[in-house]
């Protein structure tokens, strides 16, 4: 009888010890995780109702600068293309969507490209709308495909969904996975 009582106490003490260990580990781990402000960055909703065709707005997602843009429909773009493995890479991912978000960080050395809807005088032909990185002169199509300059890869594309007038950046939708040129 003594022995079984002692056994019982052993199990109870062991169980409480285990609960206490888990209870202590939980807040420690949680304190290391993203706080409320950081968690807000993982999903960004952008109201596109105010956007006019050819507009580009800048927002931020997971610390990246993000271009939210609206192209007119129909949109014909007859600028040059780069004939390599990544030819029309982003254009294929974005499909026929005219409202979308791309990461605004040049894949050459990380500057933020400028939107030039009337083209860039340094370019030939110069009248097509492009993104131009001022740091070393890389040129991207409106979909973020690199067409000239030193940038090796197209711009990144965050996962995104279009829900009415809200572009949900970070939510898998018509772009399911983050296409990240840095990984």
């Amino acid at each position: 009888m003594e022995a079984s009582r002692r056994d019982f106490m052993q199990y109870v003490v062991g169980a409480f010890g285990a609960v206490a260990a888990v209870g202590a580990a939980y807040p420690i781990l949680k304190s290391l995780g993203p706080n409320a402000a950081a968690a807000l960055q993982s999903k960004v909703d952008y109201d596109v109702s105010q956007l006019k065709p050819m507009d580009v707005r800048v927002t931020s997602w997971k610390g990246f600068p993000v271009f939210v843009m609206m192209l007119p429909t129909p949109f014909n773009w007859n600028g040059p293309e780069r004939n390599n493995k990544y030819k029309n890479h982003n254009r294929d991912i974005l499909g026929n969507h005219n409202v979308y978000a791309i990461i605004g960080k040049c894949t050459h050395l990380g500057c933020i490209p400028l939107w030039k809807p009337d083209g860039d005088s340094a370019m030939n032909p110069s009248n097509v709308p492009v993104f131009h990185c001022p740091c070393h002169g890389s040129i991207y199509t409106p979909w973020g495909d690199n067409i000239s300059g030193p940038a090796p890869l197209p711009l990144g594309i965050p996962p995104q969904a279009l829900n009415g007038n809200t572009l949900e950046i970070g939510t898998p939708g018509f772009v399911k996975k983050f296409w990240d040129p840095y990984t």
Binding site: L32, N35, A38, P65
Partner: protein, 400 residues
């Protein structure tokens, strides 16, 4: 002398000295590489002392970190340049000495019965040391610091599903590498990891004494006839080696710091601009070369972790009764392959990642695995050999 006697009567320190240093007998044929353990302890001490000084002036905050390290410590604090140089070069020397120490242990098979726990504890030290070096590297908040850490915290992202991203998030404290990361890396680097290291190093040293030091012949030896007192035979020898080591170390500290404080890291961190060449420090380049030579990210991640796991499991992969590469020609050949592959991968890790370099990297990775795979095979062959020679009793674990 009165004070010495006063302390002696209350602590009996001379008895401890007599029993632990003079009456402690070690094999008299210990070779030069047996000094690397002592050098590692010296390197650890150098890091702790120089780190204590830097801790007084360094500010773990994104807008202050770079200036406190690169301007304040370097230019304003008297002799601050010296302590930062010592700490930066010391980290590289520490890792180098630990690698040499591990290679020595592998060469003399110092991981075999009864020294398996010594090896396991040593592996834990090695792993914690890599973490300590990694967390320390971010603190100067230069371009290399920032981007090398950014790449490192992205590595767990190779694990599919939410687990990988969760680990990355826990390391950074959010989606961007910033203040939260500096704070936790600082805490890990200056207190948590060194404190754990101190404990684990103590256990390692205790286990070395408990199991007894191995000898380069790998044969059982008569402690009375073939042993020499640790003091003064070994203490003086290792003291001389230590002085030579420190001379070499300070040569680099004073005259050749450009490899230890690279130019790219004298530019403040810029989260919008990746430097053209971004690679980890040399002591991680081997794993890095494996990781990027394999075209699949997840398989690359698994492979380099597998190498770490195989190093940990070395005592159980190699169950041959014969110890020391001196008496194992097959093992010696594979040991050369192992060193060759390790050095090859480290060199490959410094080159730019072209498809040709990736192919060479795969070749060296294969060689590395060839070493680990060959261990059980060599062990089987040598087990038969030992049985034929009637050495099986010794194989079952005689004290040596």
């Amino acid at each position: 002398m009165g004070l010495a006697k006063f302390i002696e009567e209350r602590t009996h320190l001379s008895e401890i000295f007599q029993s632990q240093m003079v009456d402690y007998k070690v094999p008299k044929n210990l070779t030069f590489p047996y000094a690397f353990g002592v050098l590692a302890i010296i390197a650890f001490t150098v890091q702790i002392v120089s780190g204590m000084i830097l801790l007084m002036y360094y500010k773990p905050y994104d807008t202050l970190a770079f200036d406190s390290a690169a301007l304040f410590i370097w230019k304003v604090v008297p002799y601050g340049w010296l302590f930062r140089s010592i700490h930066a070069a010391g980290a590289n020397f520490f890792l180098a000495v630990v690698y040499l120490h591990m290679f020595t242990g592998i060469y003399y098979n110092a991981y075999k019965k009864p020294r398996e726990l010594v090896w396991v504890m040593g592996f834990i030290i090695y792993f914690l040391l890599l973490l300590t070096a990694l967390t320390g590297y971010v603190l100067p908040w230069g371009q290399l610091s920032y981007w090398a850490t950014e790449v490192t915290v992205e590595i767990p992202g190779a694990i599919p599903g939410v687990i990988g991203e969760t680990i990355s998030l826990l390391m950074r404290g959010g989606y961007t590498l910033g203040n939260l990361a500096i704070g936790r890396f600082f805490a890990l680097h200056v207190l948590i990891l060194p404190l754990i290291l101190l404990g684990v190093v103590s256990i390692h040293l205790f286990l070395v004494r408990a199991a007894g030091i191995s000898n380069p012949d790998g044969k059982p030896y008569d402690k009375k006839k073939e042993g020499v007192p640790f003091h003064p035979y070994v203490t003086l020898k290792e003291g001389a080696v230590a002085m030579f080591y420190l001379a070499l170390f300070f040569f680099f500290v004073f005259f050749y710091m450009k490899e230890f404080l690279p130019a790219t890291n004298w530019e403040p961190a810029n989260p919008l601009q990746t430097p053209a060449e971004i690679a980890p420090e040399w002591y991680l380049k081997g794993y890095y070369a494996i990781f990027r030579s394999i075209p699949n990210k997840f398989i690359g991640f698994v492979t380099f972790n597998l190498v770490l796991a195989l190093i940990l499991l070395l005592p159980w992969l190699d169950f041959s009764p014969i110890r020391s590469a001196r008496r194992r020609p097959l093992f010696f050949a594979m040991y050369i392959v192992f060193i060759f592959a390790g050095a090859g991968l480290t060199i490959i890790g410094t080159l730019q990642a072209t498809p040709q370099v990736a192919k060479v990297g795969l070749f060296f990775t294969a060689l590395l695995f060839l070493f680990f795979i060959s261990l059980p095979i060599i062990s089987f062959i040598e087990l038969g050999y030992a049985k034929a020679k009637g050495e099986v009793d010794y194989a079952k674990g005689g004290e040596q």
